[in-house]
Symmetry: C2
Subunit: 389 residues, 2 copies
């Protein structure tokens, strides 16, 4: 009903780690940015993310573009965090260069781990093969039944629940605006290009550039022709948060075995993760998942049994058909995508912010770098008839 | 500071299932009763109780008095519930005559179950020995690996979270008063007998009869000479509440194996229990307990894995040195005890209410029945010098 209008250079739809990182970097570069978040900042998938910054542990054959993107973002992280602490005034965002151990419990898993080692060496990544005794020397909390481990010192971690409020503070400190409880109904077009957004309450924000960074909820945003929408789907992940009444020290590194991990926060808190389930917009937590998380974690680190359970939660990762994010200009002038980061939204926030900011500023070559080639929105859209092949 | 005074015939300290049952029955008999609850009614141990009414499943050699007390209370339950529904106007308190299956998974457990069967037959209790195939015919959700089962049709269940508010409504309907957020500082004596209580805020309630029914928190109540206090200790129990998105039907009976159980509410909700831990006033929930509850339940009924976890909580059972409750007149005239019900507070509420009400009314023989002989408060107190042996 309301015809209230505000104006900005850029509207970012979505106040999670991705949207806020973009808004911060764009604000720093002099753009007037408004972030519109339907819930609270960080109330969506970022709230449930474990915060592993682990491009090396997560290398998957055939997903080399993700490795390059992740490695570049990991490289940016120290400076990103330093700038963020300064800009936001936050004491810490839980950034720890803790390293990661990949572990195997039996001969089959050890054989698989040897292949993982070989794959990483092929990419020139720093990974050290450890016998069980050496792994247990470095992490005495590991189970005696351990068979083999790989030490990945360059895979780190951050606390997403500290990161997100710091990003929101940094956006505001740089002159941007962050509006919570402000769901967007649709993108507004003027002719063939973006003119702003219409909120759920009917009010409007004018802007000639709009960034969609609403994760798995992005397809709910109207105003975009269906053939230019993104094929996003929710990939449910269940995690458990715990703490050690005895304080930190159970493990210092992230411990991983297949899809299961124990991620230490460095202060006696731990996150166990994570399932990957295709169940639509279901965020219930189930007995089977709780059992599997606890079983795997206690098999790797028996002391997990003594931890206090603080929270059991599920989040929805935005998945894409090729498991790569969608970052870049849309075919609609003024519309930018920053979605589909699946398991890697926290890791990829710095590089995504850098790429999208360059594109928003119209920097030469911003959408034509080797990094962006694989992640452009156009890959999911059939070229219209008569357009160049 | 306040000198505000109220007056009643009876003050009941503690608004859990025990205290409210006493208050209801005493109010019905014409006594003016005030219940003082430090938190919300049912906010303590009753909130976490699973609500099994299972004197037969829980028979323990050497604890025959508990069997007699439990059997008597189970016998009272149908009339107790019918009266409560009428008095409170509640639709249901989740009372189901569901029966209980005790199950064994291997030869050792089956041998132990045969001894349990023999023990119950010795007491003339109705228990049916079932081969695995017959048990699975009655409960198709049971695991195929089952070895042997005992069907105990007379062990039932109730929903404590429905029972407690109905009891509070029934107290009020009978003219009694239930005050929440009203912690008691101490029992007030006049000469050698009870004169009422002093609340934490300094206000007073006069009454010549006081019932202590504050469970594991009872020893915090002042004014009672230390040698007449009760040796209560917290026995921590961790439980998990779940529901089946597919509705009821996974199991119809309570399924038990040793200390582990799955208690159906009849509407698709289930409670898994329970640990027994001596950890003082610790109500944290732990990874190890969650794992054990889920493992045992899924081993008995694999479909448990599909359930949604609603809550994981810990309660503090009031334990006594001989595992029997303390019900009856104190050595201090006017002071009555109704504490120490450990695992059986919900089961024993009707019989406790009946015994304490008779005692409050001074009915002949009220504290000298075969039922009360084993549970009187005097058993923990050395006879004072010069008193009769």
């Amino acid at each position: 009903m309301s015809e209230y209008r505000a104006a900005a250079d850029v509207v970012v739809i979505g106040g999670g780690a991705i949207g806020l990182s973009i808004a911060w970097r764009a604000s720093e570069r002099g753009l007037r940015v408004i972030v519109l978040e339907r819930d609270r900042v960080g109330g969506g998938t970022s709230r449930v993310a474990a915060g592993m910054l682990a491009p090396i542990a997560e290398v998957t054959p055939g997903e080399e573009p993700l490795l390059h993107l992740g490695s570049e973002s990991a490289r940016l992280y120290p400076e990103f965090v330093a700038g963020l602490l300064e800009a936001s005034g936050a004491d810490s965002v839980g950034y720890t260069r803790c390293g990661t151990l990949l572990v195997a419990r039996d001969a089959d898993e050890a054989q698989a781990l040897e292949r993982e080692l070989e794959l990483r060496h092929r990419f020139g990544l720093r990974v050290e093969r450890l016998r069980a005794s050496e792994a247990r020397r470095r992490e005495p909390g590991l189970a005696p039944s351990l068979r083999l481990a790989l030490d990945v010192p360059d895979d780190h971690a951050i606390d997403p629940r500290a990161l997100v409020p710091a990003l929101a503070a940094a956006v505001r400190a740089a002159g941007g605006e962050v509006r919570e409880r402000s769901g967007v109904d649709r993108v507004a077009l003027a002719g063939d290009r973006v003119a702003g957004v219409v909120l759920a309450d009917g009010s409007r924000v004018s802007a000639d550039r709009v960034v969609i960074a609403a994760g798995v909820w992005s397809p709910e945003i109207g105003g975009i022709p269906v053939e230019l929408q993104m094929p996003l789907r929710p990939v449910k992940g269940q995690i458990m948060r715990l703490h050690d009444p005895a304080g930190p020290g159970l493990v210092a590194r992230v411990i991983r075995m297949g899809p299961s991990y124990i991620a230490p926060r460095g202060d006696g808190r731990y996150v166990l993760g994570a399932t990957s389930e295709e169940r639509g917009f279901d965020t219930t937590v189930t007995a089977g998942a709780a059992f599997a998380l606890l079983r795997d974690a206690a098999e790797l680190v028996p002391g997990v049994s003594e931890l206090v359970v603080d929270e059991f939660a599920a989040g929805l990762r935005p998945g894409t058909p090729d498991n790569l994010p969608v970052v870049g200009r849309s075919e609609i002038p003024g519309l930018h995508w920053a979605v589909g980061h699946r398991r890697s939204g926290i890791l990829l926030a710095p590089v995504t912010a850098q790429l999208v900011t360059a594109s928003l500023l119209g920097e030469p070559g911003a959408d034509a770098s080797p990094l962006t080639a694989a992640i452009g929105p156009g890959r999911f859209h059939a070229a219209p008839a008569g357009s160049p092949a």
